[in-house]
């Protein structure tokens, strides 16, 4: 079910109304779980089976990791991690293995035919977080209250955590230690309307007005359509896709955060104006923050982080980013995309070590460099086949004259990019002044966004990150 569909509104409205009725207070978790299951099962009901199995396994693993026999707690946590990873590997990467290693065989055909359940990358990561957080905090009193002793209560809380519909399908990736302590009776009077409405308006605006309209133009970034387009148009398309992917995913995250506020939960900020970044490490602190913090906490640091010397640090960065790339999709191009980012992070770290501090480059220059590098790398997202990427780069190099200019594409990419550029610029510069500016203009800007949502929305397409 899409956030930008009427069907979702039909689910959200009664769920919200029931949720805050006084006699429903003790049933709030049950209601969240029911609504989340309907949300998830709406398009393909059978997928719910997988989600329920995954939830059950995580309930057992996390409970065992805290309340099990002391000598078996580690085994429970390990079981949780292994099973979650196995589910992810089987459903997400079997087709890639089938195509790469068993092409043309019966096994290959079987592996390629395995469907990709929507949101699997997100809910399995949350399952890992549940098992690991439970085990790491097993002897800390505050963790004992997260994984409660009553197994039925623990099951309800874990099911609500894993299936909470605002973030079930495309994040933000919520960690157990951040979500579970928030579970309590919620009252209507405590809804933070300003935060909820603000996030929902900006999120829906970014998705439905900016990303959905841009997607109609960036469609031409598809093989073979782009081959005859002029280099200027190809650059504009790539720029437009960079704007689109930000608007699409940041929009989704803001909608999720806004919905979370409606139900009394605070989900972590997932985007912090990433195109203002001056370095790759800063970019990853601003882009898909919930994933990068998850990878840092559950992969990079356990691998040794930067504690085992410079070479090991570079290897760890590379390994984390390649796996992070593959998390996005079962194609080698995603691994290359991850390797590119990992490589750049390693080079930055090398320069940092060599010059004993950050490498000094004028602010504007470094921001533009990061933006253009990141934008160029998005090509691997849009064109997962290497041959298509090469064809695109060839066209980009060759079509400086005699090719189609397509003023329509240039006009709309320019027009639709204005909100994303303005959104970033509005938050740049002196933080106090920026905050004052925002406070003054916010209600009017939201009013305009709401108007454009009503009158200028694109054709409600799926969110780009659903495929991950």
């Amino acid at each position: 079910m899409l956030f930008n569909s009427l069907t979702f509104l039909y689910l959200l409205a009664p769920t919200f109304l029931l949720y805050y009725l006084p006699f429903m207070h003790r049933w709030q978790l049950h209601l969240i779980i029911t609504a989340s299951f309907i949300f998830y099962a709406y398009s393909e009901p059978w997928l719910l089976t997988l989600l329920v199995i995954s939830i059950c396994i995580n309930i057992v693993a996390s409970y065992g990791a805290v309340h099990g026999a002391p000598d078996r707690r580690k085994a429970y946590a390990t079981l949780g991690v292994v099973v979650n990873l196995s589910i992810l590997l089987f459903f997400k990467y079997s087709p890639l293995f089938g195509r790469t290693f068993f092409s043309g065989t019966d096994l290959g055909s079987f592996l390629v035919a395995i469907p990709l359940p929507v949101g699997i990358s997100f809910f399995t990561f949350q399952g890992i977080s549940l098992a690991v957080d439970a085990y790491r905090g097993r002897d800390l009193p505050e963790y004992k209250s997260i994984i409660v002793k009553n197994i039925w209560q623990h099951s309800l809380r874990s099911a609500a955590f894993k299936s909470f519909f605002p973030q079930l399908i495309a994040g933000p990736v919520v960690k157990a230690k951040d979500f579970l302590p928030q579970i309590a009776t919620k009252t209507f009077a405590r809804v933070d309307w300003e935060k909820a409405i603000g996030a929902l308006v900006v999120g829906y605006f970014l998705k439905m007005v900016v990303a959905d309209n841009l997607s109609e133009q960036t469609f031409w970034l598809t093989y073979p359509y782009f081959k005859g387009l002029s280099s200027i148009t190809l650059i504009a398309l790539l720029f437009g896709y960079s704007m689109q992917i930000f608007a699409d995913f940041a929009g989704y995250s803001l909608i999720a955060i806004g919905l979370g506020h409606l139900f009394g939960y605070t989900l972590m900020t997932n985007f912090n104006f990433p195109y203002l970044s001056r370095s790759f490490s800063e970019f990853w602190k601003r882009w898909h923050i919930s994933l990068s913090s998850f990878l840092r906490e559950y992969l990079y640091i356990p691998l040794g982080g930067n504690r085992k010397g410079p070479v090991r640090t570079y290897v760890n960065l590379m390994a984390t980013m390649v796996l992070g790339g593959l998390w996005h999709g079962a194609a080698w191009s995603y691994a290359v995309w991850g390797a590119f980012h990992g490589g750049m992070l390693a080079v930055e770290r090398l320069l940092h070590d060599k010059f004993n501090g950050p490498f000094k480059v004028p602010k504007l220059l470094s921001t533009l460099f990061i933006f253009f590098s990141v934008t160029l790398a998005w090509l691997l997202f849009k064109l997962p086949k290497f041959d298509d990427v090469i064809a695109y780069m060839q066209a980009l190099g060759n079509n400086w004259s005699g090719a189609d200019m397509q003023p329509l594409i240039l006009f709309f990419i320019g027009l639709l990019s204005i909100p994303v550029v303005a959104y970033h610029l509005f938050h740049s510069g002196n933080e106090d002044r920026a905050r004052a500016r925002r406070a003054t203009w916010r209600p009017y800007a939201y009013g305009i966004m709401l108007f454009l949502l009503l009158t200028n929305s694109g054709s409600g397409g799926a969110f780009i990150y659903f495929q991950f």
């Binding site: 009427l6 309307w193 300003e194 409405i197 603000g198 308006v201 309209n213 109609e216 133009q217 469609f219 031409w220 073979p224 359509y225 081959k227 005859g228 387009l229 005699g402 090719a403 189609d404 397509q406 003023p407 329509l408 006009f411 709309f412 027009l415 639709l416 916010r442 209600p443 009017y444 939201y446 009013g447 305009i448 709401l450 108007f451 454009l452 009503l454 009158t455 200028n456 054709s459 409600g460």
Partner: protein, 284 residues
């Protein structure tokens, strides 16, 4: 903050509704292929006068037929990137039955886009768009702005419409690559199940049209000569003629020559000539 937000929003909606009521928009406001499809569908659904006598349904091939070369009042409901079935469904769901329906059959086996039809015929949105024209695709502010810029450019710079709006992207250079692709695709005929499903769905739609008194005529848009003789084109032709033997089937004569941009879509001059030939043969 919330109050000021809703106040700003309400004022903008009121001002824009008044603008649309008092300033007539006579130019094309299509921004992209899907948007232009929705404009067509909405224009058909929200038409305030009686149903058009002649309606054309089909794909982006018939989309290119030139309105002023057809019989006046002909409604071209052909939709780019989609096919005949979406147009037929929109007629059926609108309840506005024409006298004659011309069905373009070149793109016969394209997957039916239920989402498109649902989006334009959704009862809640239908009611909202009927009462508030600002919600219609043709009235999108960005489309109005682009259309206005386009009109200015045409008037002041003497720029041709086609260079400004290549809605299906198939201009000359892109077309060269597209033809190579089509030559490969036209070698393949879909399996029996696919063809049967599409033909049954078409037959049901034709029966419904005829039950409402409409005459149905099939026609084929001219393609690049090489494509016309390839298996997919020949199979599509044969299947229609076999399934609907009583119906008229019109195609370009062997001596007629039309030029395409990409093998499939007619260049503007050819589209105009073909539209005139179509009118002479079928509409007069």
């Amino acid at each position: 903050m919330v109050k000021r937000m809703f106040l700003t929003f309400a004022l903008l909606v009121l001002a824009y509704t008044a603008f649309l009521k008092w300033v007539p928009i006579t130019y094309d406001t299509g921004q992209h292929l899907q948007g232009s499809n929705r404009i067509k569908a909405e224009n058909y659904l929200y038409g305030e006068v009686e149903a058009p006598k002649d309606v054309i349904v089909g794909s982006s091939l018939a989309f290119r037929m030139v309105a002023d070369s057809l019989k006046p009042g002909t409604f071209n409901l052909a939709v780019g990137g989609l096919s005949l079935q979406e147009g037929l469904d929109i007629i059926a769901r609108s309840g506005r039955w024409p006298k004659r329906v011309f069905i373009e059959t070149n793109i016969l086996f394209r997957k039916y886009d239920e989402g498109f039809v649902k989006a334009v015929t959704n009862p809640v949105m239908f009611a909202a768009r009927t009462r508030l024209p600002a919600l219609r695709e043709r009235n999108q502010p960005s489309g109005l702005l682009f259309g206005w810029v386009k009109e200015k450019a045409k008037a002041e710079l003497g720029v041709e419409q086609d260079t400004l709006t290549a809605l299906d992207g198939n201009t000359e250079v892109t077309g060269k690559f597209m033809l190579d692709e089509q030559l490969v695709l036209y070698k393949k005929i879909p399996g029996g199940d696919t063809t049967a499903t599409h033909l049954e769905r078409l037959a049901a739609a034709v029966s419904e049209l005829e039950a409402h008194g409409a005459e149905v005529v099939f026609f084929e848009m001219p393609l690049d000569k090489r494509l016309m003789e390839m298996p997919l084109a020949e199979a599509s032709r044969a299947l229609i003629q076999h399934r609907f033997p009583q119906h008229r089937y019109y195609q370009a004569g062997p001596n007629e020559h039309y030029v395409t941009t990409d093998g499939l879509h007619l260049r503007q001059e050819s589209a105009r000539r073909w539209s005139r030939a179509f009118r002479r043969a079928l509409q007069e």
